[in-house]
């Protein structure tokens, strides 16, 4: 059978991608397939690049993100289903109601291969359904079904009901009550609570009255050279499985403290990070990040001084791991950083809370109650609300309350003080139900600040409306650059100086800056051109990663150990060089930027507030005295793509050069 399959594959034309998309017009209740020409894949790959191409062309300028003209797309990756490791990510794209511009959210789980098994590289929705509906694709037949009975139910419950009424093998992306109630910080779930959380795209689904996308396909995904992909995957897997015994969880805090104290820093090798992820998941960094200054504390006002080792001990990696009953792997992942945890309370079980969740509901709100974090993790996943934005918005509300901008009357009697876990839980439940103060906060901190008025805006920590993740740009200014310059701002999954160190792109592509193995920390804050070059390379490379459907943690291993470009060539039969792929990354970056310009976004408005960029610099803690010249870093970044350095608008020349 295997030999026959190999021979069949040799005679096929499209490899790696399916060559088709599905478009559903919810207003007209029409579904159609569309064939995508090969040259589009050659120029934009698949996944996010394909989505950028479609959304730029088809969403009219000025379209209301919650209106019928907006398009929401679910795209798989070019490497998904090819045998390449870490290739299980799917992406949701659309015009973001949170930022008003390009919106994207990325998620693992099992939904990505299901899109391709149905024969598509992406599924797109336009229009608004008259009644709640879900799309069911089964064995080549797509239909819109009534979802009235699911409306109001949480994501996990809805998933179980959809499996019962379709097939035990259905893969489901679904919104919870937050998306239905058009919360601008809502996301989309799959696999019992894994979230494509950012950019508020759950609200776009809610506005379209699209409850879920249910897929059950069996198509084969053909590749050009499966033997080569397997060979590359086996080499990669050997790196992943190399796991020497490492220290106990609470020691991570002291490692972080040591990193804080030392005047020098070692360039990060992804193998170190991988070992931490394999043992604990992202929670490995819960204490370490606080100690080294990577995690914001007390709504970005505090530091490790306020949230020291003793206070954060309750969220140390071992404390989280005690709840884990089995590791959770996304599709095609050899690492398994996730976990299924057994918890107290009404839910009984939850996905292991990620670092971002623990810190946004923990240190950012000064909340050390681990049970409340587990409870909120599951509550927010089920509601389909972004844990980063929810935690940040609660921290914003607490700061307003402490400063007297909000009173007890405004909070419906809640004592919103730092670390009051009962009040935090109650507030988030109100946000999900859009009840009282919760209705004001359910759309994130920027909208809430505008509604509250007074001095509230100074407490809203966001970039272009999107709440900031738990990585402090005062520790690594690369984060602040990407929070400010990306088409979907305020996201930590694109770049940082540490990311460039781990990507090790200079090992596979010519002429790229190398990283010194040891350097003085002060160098991180020097706003020279090399910082812009490496930041632009991170953006370009992550576009390729998101086109391929790869996981960020996979590519952290380094470009040689996780052979992204070689996998792409082996899957498609192309013979592109890494430099050519990076050019494709630049093309996609410029197209996303052009999408924002088309929709009236001023790229300069994405820059986060002065507190986040260290103006004035903190006077104590790990990031004491740290800030960088963001203006220069941002204009230098724009130059790397040939955009206007002052306005961030792509120039005619840059558009011509990239053959957009």
């Amino acid at each position: 059978m295997n030999e026959i399959s190999s021979k069949v594959e040799e005679t096929r034309m499209n490899f790696g991608y399916m060559g088709k998309i599905l478009i559903a017009d919810l207003s007209a209740r029409e579904i159609r397939e569309e064939t995508i020409p090969d040259h589009v894949y050659e120029q934009y790959l698949s996944g996010m690049g394909l989505a950028a191409c479609i959304l730029y062309d088809r969403i009219p300028a000025g379209a209301d993100p919650l209106g019928p003209e907006n398009i929401i797309g679910f795209v798989s990756g070019l490497l998904t289903g090819t045998g390449s490791l870490f290739a299980g990510r799917w992406m949701v794209v659309g015009k973001s109601p949170l930022t008003g511009g390009w919106g994207e959210a990325n998620c693992g789980g099992s939904f990505s291969p299901a899109i391709k098994r149905c024969g598509y590289d992406g599924i797109f929705f336009t229009g608004i359904s008259e009644k709640p509906a879900y799309l069911y694709v089964n064995n080549g037949v797509a239909e819109l079904r009534d979802a009235s009975h699911l409306w109001g139910r949480d994501a996990v419950e809805s998933e179980a009901m959809l499996i019962a009424e379709t097939s035990a093998n259905s893969r489901i992306a679904v919104i919870g009550p937050a998306g239905e109630r058009l919360s601008l910080i809502s996301g989309i779930c799959n696999d019992r609570g894994r979230m494509a959380a950012r950019s508020g795209l759950g609200a776009v689904m809610g506005a379209k009255r699209l409850k879920a996308v249910v897929l059950d396909g069996k198509k084969r995904i053909d590749v050009h050279n499966r033997a080569e992909i397997k060979r590359l995957s086996q080499i990669c897997n050997r790196w992943v499985q190399f796991q020497p015994p490492i220290f106990a969880g609470p020691v991570t805090a002291y490692v972080g403290a040591l990193m804080r104290i030392l005047p020098v820093q070692m360039a990060m090798d992804g193998m170190v990070y991988k070992m931490l992820l394999k043992k604990w998941g992202t929670g490995a960094m819960n204490q370490m990040s606080v100690e080294m200054g990577d995690a914001p504390v007390r709504n970005w006002q505090g530091s490790n001084v306020d949230w020291g080792i003793k206070k954060s001990l309750s969220v140390n990696p071992d404390a989280i791991r005690r709840y884990e009953k089995v590791k959770y792997h996304c599709y095609a992942c050899p690492l398994g950083c996730g976990g299924i945890c057994v918890t107290k309370g009404k839910y009984g079980e939850t996905h292991k809370p990620e670092y971002e969740t623990v810190l946004s509901l923990g240190g950012l709100c000064m909340n050390a109650d681990i049970d409340s974090i587990f409870h909120l993790n599951e509550t927010l996943n089920r509601a389909g609300m972004d844990t980063i934005s929810a935690g940040s918005t609660v921290a914003f509300a607490i700061e307003c309350y402490e400063a007297g901008v909000l009173t007890k009357k405004d909070t419906d009697g809640l004592e919103l003080t730092w670390g009051n876990s009962e009040a935090i839980v109650a507030l988030i439940e109100k946000m999900i139900r859009r009840e009282g103060i919760g209705d004001i906060l359910a759309d994130g901190s920027k909208v809430a600040a505008r509604k509250i008025g007074k001095k509230a805006e100074a407490s809203a920590m966001h970039a272009g409306g999107q709440e900031l993740p738990m990585h402090d740009g005062r520790n690594d200014p690369g984060y602040n650059v990407h929070y400010s310059v990306e088409a979907a701002p305020g996201r930590h999954t694109v770049g940082a100086q540490m990311y460039y160190e781990m990507f090790q792109l200079w090992k596979v592509a010519k002429g790229l800056p190398r990283v010194k193995p040891l350097y003085f920390k002060g160098r991180k804050y020097v706003a020279n051109e090399e910082k812009a070059v490496t930041a632009a390379l991170c953006s370009k490379f992550m576009n390729i990663v998101n086109c391929a459907g790869l996981c960020l943690f996979g590519v952290f291993l380094g470009a040689k150990r996780t052979p992204t470009f070689s996998w792409l060539n082996a899957a498609t039969g192309w013979s592109k060089t890494p430099e050519e792929y990076l050019d494709i990354g630049a093309r996609i970056q410029t197209l996303k930027q052009a999408f924002n310009i088309k929709h009236g976004i001023d790229p300069r408005s994405f820059r986060p507030g002065d507190r986040v960029t260290g103006k004035p610099a903190q006077t104590e803690g790990a990031n004491r005295g740290r800030s960088a010249d963001m203006g220069k870093l941002i204009t230098d970044y724009y130059r790397q793509f040939g955009w206007d350095p002052e306005t961030g608008r792509p120039t005619e020349e840059s558009i011509d050069r990239l053959r957009l």
């Binding site: 026959i4 086996q234 089995v326």
Partner: protein
């Protein structure tokens, strides 16, 4: 490329009942047809056909094999990395993933959850990146 049914077909319907992709149509006792667009080339129709009426994509006639002699996946736990690719590749979804860890192994591992459903297509073997699955006749 797809499997094809020849005029040797006696219309017994065994292939259409087994086909995981619902790619075979035809009335009882009449010639059956494989819809090429839907065929996933699993070969189950060829293995079940008592009249040797199925040709593979290269035109070679498939021989019937007694179902109890079909090869089925065997997992090497030491090589397996729990990536779930095999579970996704299976067109009849006969594989499961254990949802509890065992002492010294915190990862869930794939196992044959429904042996009767297995059609012996070998897609799990084909897609496993680390060669942790082999096909063998169950004892």
């Amino acid at each position: 490329m797809a499997y094809r049914i020849t005029d040797k077909c006696n219309g017994c319907g065994a292939c259409s009942r087994l086909c995981p992709a619902d790619a075979i149509t035809g009335n009882k006792n009449a010639l059956h047809v494989i819809v090429a667009d839907r065929c996933i080339e699993c070969g189950a129709c060829g293995r079940i056909c008592p009249a040797a009426a199925v040709n593979d994509p290269f035109g070679i006639s498939c021989a019937m094999v007694k179902r109890s002699l079909w090869e089925r996946p065997q997992f090497d736990r030491m090589t397996c990395m729990s990536c779930r690719i095999c579970i996704d590749a299976c067109p009849v979804h006969c594989l499961g993933l254990s949802d509890v860890s065992t002492p010294g192994d915190p990862h869930g591992r794939p196992y044959m959850a429904n042996e009767r459903a297995c059609i012996g297509c070998g897609f799990c073997v084909r897609e496993c990146p680390v060669e942790a699955i082999t096909m063998a006749v169950s004892q």
